[in-house]
Symmetry: C2
Subunit: 484 residues, 2 copies
Amino acid sequence: MTSAPSINSLAHEGWSWPPTYDDSYRPQGTDKYWFRERETMPEAQRDGLILARIQDVMAYAWEHAPFYRRKWDEAGIHPSGIRTLEDFERVPTVTKQELRASQAAHEPFGDYACIPDSEVKHIHGTSGTTGRPTCFGINARDWTSIANAQARVMWAMGLRPSDTVFVGSLFSLYMGSWGALIGAERLGATVFPFGAGVAGQTARAVNWMRQMKPSAFYGTPSYALRVAEIAQGEGVDPRSLGLRTMFFSGEPGASIPAVRARLKELFGAAVYDSGSMAEVSPWMNLGESTESDGPLLWQDIVYTEVADPVTHSRVPYGREGTPIYTTLERTSQPMIRLVSQDVTTWESGPSPCGRTYPRLPRGIYGRLDDQIVVRGENIYPSAIDDVLTATPGYGGEHRVIVSRTDTMDILTVSVESAPDVSTLEVPAWLSTVADRLRTVLGVAVSTVHAAPGSLERTDLKARRVIDDRQLFREISEGRSSVDS
Amino acid sequence: MTSAPSINSLAHEGWSWPPTYDDSYRPQGTDKYWFRERETMPEAQRDGLILARIQDVMAYAWEHAPFYRRKWDEAGIHPSGIRTLEDFERVPTVTKQELRASQAAHEPFGDYACIPDSEVKHIHGTSGTTGRPTCFGINARDWTSIANAQARVMWAMGLRPSDTVFVGSLFSLYMGSWGALIGAERLGATVFPFGAGVAGQTARAVNWMRQMKPSAFYGTPSYALRVAEIAQGEGVDPRSLGLRTMFFSGEPGASIPAVRARLKELFGAAVYDSGSMAEVSPWMNLGESTESDGPLLWQDIVYTEVADPVTHSRVPYGREGTPIYTTLERTSQPMIRLVSQDVTTWESGPSPCGRTYPRLPRGIYGRLDDQIVVRGENIYPSAIDDVLTATPGYGGEHRVIVSRTDTMDILTVSVESAPDVSTLEVPAWLSTVADRLRTVLGVAVSTVHAAPGSLERTDLKARRVIDDRQLFREISEGRSSVDS
């Protein structure tokens, strides 16, 4: 039905390597797609183009990044040997630990950087709560490509140049805020980069939204809930803020039905989930459209394989796996088969919006770290990590203790504060932490304080969880592990 | 000596209305000037060009902004009647109160905005601690012009594309951070927009600077001192961070000899002061060069008259006055004779760097609000405002009480916390406030807590100061005011 795109239309749509986008390009406001051909072509046709692009990207990385050449040499793989997407599944995967080690050995950007340090124009990074943080060194070309891709996905969320986007998330290392900002700028929207994270700022955010009436909001789901709470505390109905579109990343919340429904109910706005990993920015490569059932996988921007956690081969549509990402437009620090350790289930396209991308009906809902079940709720320790990492004053380490009284599971989090949280501030801070955890996890959480630096650091997230319930059950049933 | 610039060279240097800058332009790294002709032409020649530009800007504002047309009509002034810079001194001045009133009556951008709301692409604003905040609605053209101007001034501070600029100030409403960011981007430097203001972030800033070794730092002087303190607390010599250039705005500190010397000593870096008002962005229109004696007035970007506080006519070079600003490149919300209420002394150029701009050897050192003398130090209440305004958790109102014991003046500040500063946090917060005040004012300050909203709001800053010393002296001398 869809005619094959001509070379001209694909060049117009920036399908070239390295990517070269026309910054003056913008669709008509009535156009449904930013790049119609790329978004709606048959999947098989796109896969052919993706394969060709993977070959470009691998050849480029082999030439410029000792990290990739070394890895592939050791595996007996050469870019010229990748002739199918199945061949590509044999390319060794990359872990975040490897990126960190590469940066420690080759400061500051690692030997997976394909550009000289002098070409880096933007520096951001991870929060580095577990050991050395990883830095992102992004060149001007990639910054432009990222902005273009984010604008494309925001366009699919219905955002237009006439929108005003209020960015209510911290502008610092966190790539979420910057990605939303430059995407909104590229789309031609008005952007109000307000930020978040400073004492008293949420009340000011509410006042400014009342004054400026932005039509769109970006932030984390938990922060949007906080905004609603503060507004209501001041007698302001969050619906009166006039938001029409709210898009999120940074937490799984916007794909969790209860949280999503709550956000819609509170604000009376459309809610869209998005976000993969900061390393694969444009992180909106997972992002919903106005009509999609869950985030789409924008495969022509970042090629995503939902894969078996052990073999790292793709699982069939309909099955659960972990996303493995390959950036198709990045020239500074390309990611080629980066394992996310996230958990999701993918389905084949097309979406009702006409885009032929696969999609994630439940979003990203977990991490490969074992989940725990507390009072019937599936809880991923990674969700606790995510909340704490995003919480100002977090000291970088914590423990999760699951225990049991006669009738009930008890979830306790022992959490380190940062050195600059004073002793006097601790009780209020612990209460804030407990609130944030409860909001995201859906179960009540007790928080107890650990002094800065007092908890042993570990790279194994699983070791953070201490489950006492087995012992409790065994004792209850008259056969404690001590006796066995 | 300097030959008259040709029309070609001035067009190349963007001297046109409305400004149209070539974003691909950049001087050679060895060039001393970004725009040689504009920066080094004889002052009289520049004044002629400025006059022509003022005529352009006034005609534009008269056509597009009811605010200006109304003001000028009432004063019997028409843009066509401004034939000399002396004529321009008769143009009515604008106060911040007028801008606020205009925005309240014509939401949201006021009737001094010369563009339709739909053309606004960036929204920022004032902190609005005293009443309604003022918002800035900036179009894409002005955003580009601002970036270009900031890059020019940063170039004069010796910054080059090979520099990495660490921006250590809050990214939110505050135009300082955004101006430093887009200036650094436009200059072609690497920029690390780290931010500030979140609990625990300063320690992370130190770690990141150790890891990334930025060559330049932007922030407020008091924040840089805080960075040094945190570094030293972790056993890190601030000099080891490797900063070569530090540039500041937001507080008068970098022009205060003691603070400047302390910054140089702590970091071993060159220190440059800059900054006028957010309303006149590009706020680096007051900015030092590597060789200047105090900030230069970059008159071809923003025309500044240092004027008599009452008559609003220019004072001669060498005399004290208040800067009155006229933006020469802004098309969105042009400022035409905006009275700063700041206090400075200007001197004629040229500067040793060859730029023919006037300069401010002592920077901006006060506000027209009456200064008070405490233990021999001249203290401007505005400096206290500035510190508190920049302090997270500030509730928006305070009182300054000057009293006296037998031998000593006592400066006490009663300060409201924001509603989200918990009772438990207050003591630590008060101590932080006292530290910040002491750093900037140079005298010890006692802080006492006022509950959120407990102090009466006022538009008259002077009413914030209560001086008890006269009473003390009268009582000491046996004639209290009660007896008289």
